[in-house]
């Protein structure tokens, strides 16, 4: 099953390269944050592929920590981006609702 797993690794590498292109090109900060989130998921996935190829379980805690770190990073960046115009969760004024 090694060729299939290696093909999966190559696909993940191509996905990471395309995501990096989006991080560089932007244009908005939120584009970069979304692309970074995808890149962290791809890195976690490539760790899983590597563990499957070499038949070890040493990197599984790293996968767990990475997924939690991605959540913390995205939430803090969302609050930072929205912080220029108030706090996320307070919501904008909804004058159009129910009209």
């Amino acid at each position: 099953m090694q060729p299939v797993l290696i093909a999966a690794g190559v696909m993940l590498a191509a996905a990471a390269a395309l995501t990096l292109v989006r991080i560089v090109r932007g244009p908005a900060p939120s584009d970069r944050v979304v692309a970074t989130d995808v890149l962290i998921a791809i890195v976690a996935g490539s760790l899983a592929v590597e563990a499957a190829i070499n038949h070890h379980a040493y990197t599984i805690p790293v996968i767990l920590v990475l997924s939690l770190l991605a959540f913390a990073a995205t939430v803090s960046m969302a609050r930072f981006i929205a912080g220029r115009q108030g706090v996320v969760g307070s919501g904008p004024r909804r004058r159009g609702r129910g009209a």
Binding site: M1, V4, L5, A7, A8, G9, M11, L12, A14, A15, A16, L18, T19, V21, R22, A28, P29, S30, D31, V33, V34, A35, D37, V38, A41, I42, A44, G45, A48, V49, A51, A52, H55, A57, I60, I63, L64, S67, L68, A70, F71, T74, V75, M77, A78, R79, I81, A82, R84, Q85, G86, V88, G89, G91, P92, R93, R94, R95, G96, R97
Partner: protein, 126 residues
Amino acid sequence: MTVEGALDVVGAVLILLGAALSLTAAIGLLRLPDVLNRMHAASKPQTLGFLLLCVGLALVLRDGAATAMLVLAAGLQLVTAPVATQMMAKAAHRTGQYRADLVVDDRDRDEPTDAGEPADGDEQTR
């Protein structure tokens, strides 16, 4: 074919599917026009792709402790990824980092603007 061989094949196929989903999402991230559309593509490897990779790895390794940790990772990812994506979408919407000409029904704004300034105007008082 033994049971172990069959589990290896199924695990490898699941891992390949997860990797293919990640590649599709990366292509979508490049080709879709604005943040809200890209978010739609970006959520696939974070939930389904990650889940497929975890299940495939658990089938390949067949180890109790590793499977428990993979279940924990997949469950946490399933809970946290939609929350993070929703907060990011809200922040992008509030700061106007999307293309207003692509939005059909923009309920949180009085009129669509593309310059990044909400039509409300309560930001000036803050």
